[in-house]
Subunit: 164 residues, 6 copies
Amino acid sequence: MSELTHFNEQGRARMVDISEKNETVRTARATTSVRVNELIYRQIREGGNKKGDVLAVAQVAGIMAAKNTSQIIPMCHPLMLSGVDIEFEWAVDEAADSYEVFLYATVRTKGSTGVEMEALTAASAAALTIYDMCKAAGKDMVIGPTMLLEKTGGKSGDYSRNEA
Amino acid sequence: MSELTHFNEQGRARMVDISEKNETVRTARATTSVRVNELIYRQIREGGNKKGDVLAVAQVAGIMAAKNTSQIIPMCHPLMLSGVDIEFEWAVDEAADSYEVFLYATVRTKGSTGVEMEALTAASAAALTIYDMCKAAGKDMVIGPTMLLEKTGGKSGDYSRNEA
Amino acid sequence: MSELTHFNEQGRARMVDISEKNETVRTARATTSVRVNELIYRQIREGGNKKGDVLAVAQVAGIMAAKNTSQIIPMCHPLMLSGVDIEFEWAVDEAADSYEVFLYATVRTKGSTGVEMEALTAASAAALTIYDMCKAAGKDMVIGPTMLLEKTGGKSGDYSRNEA
Amino acid sequence: MSELTHFNEQGRARMVDISEKNETVRTARATTSVRVNELIYRQIREGGNKKGDVLAVAQVAGIMAAKNTSQIIPMCHPLMLSGVDIEFEWAVDEAADSYEVFLYATVRTKGSTGVEMEALTAASAAALTIYDMCKAAGKDMVIGPTMLLEKTGGKSGDYSRNEA
Amino acid sequence: MSELTHFNEQGRARMVDISEKNETVRTARATTSVRVNELIYRQIREGGNKKGDVLAVAQVAGIMAAKNTSQIIPMCHPLMLSGVDIEFEWAVDEAADSYEVFLYATVRTKGSTGVEMEALTAASAAALTIYDMCKAAGKDMVIGPTMLLEKTGGKSGDYSRNEA
Amino acid sequence: MSELTHFNEQGRARMVDISEKNETVRTARATTSVRVNELIYRQIREGGNKKGDVLAVAQVAGIMAAKNTSQIIPMCHPLMLSGVDIEFEWAVDEAADSYEVFLYATVRTKGSTGVEMEALTAASAAALTIYDMCKAAGKDMVIGPTMLLEKTGGKSGDYSRNEA
């Protein structure tokens, strides 16, 4: 579909009607990342062991944001999410002084519309939480790029990002 | 300051105490962007004129998210924001088939802690709203990188991102 | 039905049980208005073209309030709204110095209870937003009357306001 | 002041900066009403005595909505309300079959901007709650007109609605 | 089931997937209590008659908290509650100077997961509200113990607390 | 003070006016506990090391609930919390098959009213989160008693619970 359907005949935003759409299982998976300095990297890694766990807090933030998506994104439909998960993966190249944590948010529902926005919002909120908890050790962190990796379910069919 | 101060002696997250910090005027400015395809670019630009204004909705989403930051980011202090603004700037290179809208969120407060997170959250929510309203015309959009550009006020002094 | 069903045997408010009610498509349409002075009228009309669009912000406020109705109205059931739209219509009589914008909020869901409150809440929030954004140019604005125009779906049948 | 200050140079909505404004005590008082049929009137009055108290629930809804105003009205500044009260007053003319309850919401704060919107929002949410709890006995209820009665404090001075 | 299912393979919290679970009617009933001093007891009892009704406010707080449970408890699934009720019961032994009000929260839904947390949260919020409204007359009040009394529906079967 | 000040002259609840009260630093400390079975005890303790950290999630839930108190407790004033911390302490008597985790929530602000409710709400939400995450391994858990341990600041003076 190639039109902006979020507008009514007056040219004003609306929440599009989905009452005729079928309830199916739908999933979406989004990713973002946070690029940090070496000090922050060491503190997060150590913290996970003994000094306090930044990623545990980010995880909770992401899950709660997923549930809150329709209050953050104006035209998003409220949805009963059936599952939310977030995973972290470090990409570290010490020689190049490069420290980046990748976040993968997976959201599932059984509903009438997709959960792409919930996955993107979960990833974003988790990344922002990492920024917040580490910013005393360096404000140069960079979040993203943030993007949808894949979705399944719904009339528009499955989507998988082509990374070629 | 170079420690993760968001943890207590048990190694668990806490919201750090700021009751001894002075109330001063503080500002922060953050940026992100959304890279879109040509179709979406044309629809947003036209919409701003007559068919519906995606960026107006994104603007509202960003401002409301700024006010809601302490409910989205777990260790963020609640703050009485005194001003929030978001600006948009297109970077288009038709020859290279490149269409990107940059978002700049500026937040001000008179309070005991900074507003970096509010600016970053405002920019993120506005970008996610653009994604949401345009995703029917292409799910390959990329959000970010998202970063802090500058902050003023507070004991830790001013910050300005060094883009060299 | 002619009883206040929102009370339990102790005479205290409860959220009535709807778990036995059928899921059907339900719609509701409510209206309100904002009576403004000539200055505000001109500013809103011009703004829609070039200086800033008050009604676009009101539209977003109304849609978000519709989704948030069960958090604003204590005994309202949470509902997965499937569609929300708001339209504006000016009634202007310059000779009589009368400037009034009418708001029409339409809400749809597929659920076990009606969406009258969501439509009324959307209209009210949108009207309050117009008041907020224009009050620097005159605080005498009057909101309403606010009322339900029609509803469809559900056991109690359809309703259409008799305006005779 | 006679301009729409809620827009930036791009013509987009912003939350105006109030960081230079003084903190003073500010009050606002708003009113609305709900016109009901005789059956609803009798049920509410009896309920107040023994069967369940509609107005007690409306009171709580109004107070909570006042505190939530900056989340409902997009460009409203968050404010630390220092006091909220709501009063009810029946205007009944049985001969004319006319039953109307007037609501008066009073809000106080010590802050940098006024509380007109909080008073208007409190009155509106309380009225909507009355509608919700009584709608099984008649959907013809009419809410409003809703308006500001007076405000005190702040640079723009006091305001009192001229009802002549 | 005897494992902590709320963690993913990385040992981090997740909201477990329930998209394969059946939608059935589910109920839960939880209890807590507030132990007060004689002065508070007399004020609440009188208030119920003529001076203001603490329990009416607590009732509303409990019902709204039930609806808000998935925003308060991080790993809770959002649920469309179909009914919420709260009852109060005094246990008074004047000879022993003992005044305690018991709260019973009953929650119903038609959904894919149980409502135990909603019932416990409703009871807790109602009890906290009693504390709040009476604390000027004595801060020694004690809330709880808080516990689940029974649940019905769902694969794990019914539960009834064994009070032997 | 020994009166219920939360009611207006109509006998209806109000949020009492605090605009004349001084801003001072205020603290409050509250406690609750969760009594669990041996299986749950072992799972939580192991989880803290390698399988997933229940208490880390409970910590975040408590801190976010503290910030959200004025939206959960109807007559609570909104407050800019300056610090929130939660600590856990196990009391285990294996011989008696007794496993109980105590929670201590400490809240600080610089404001015009106390933070007792914020501390009590933080403790309650953290305890409810423990219940939620462990209920698959036994629903007999008991939360509380929940009580205020101490408060400082404000006109009514300091309070310390007398546990004799």
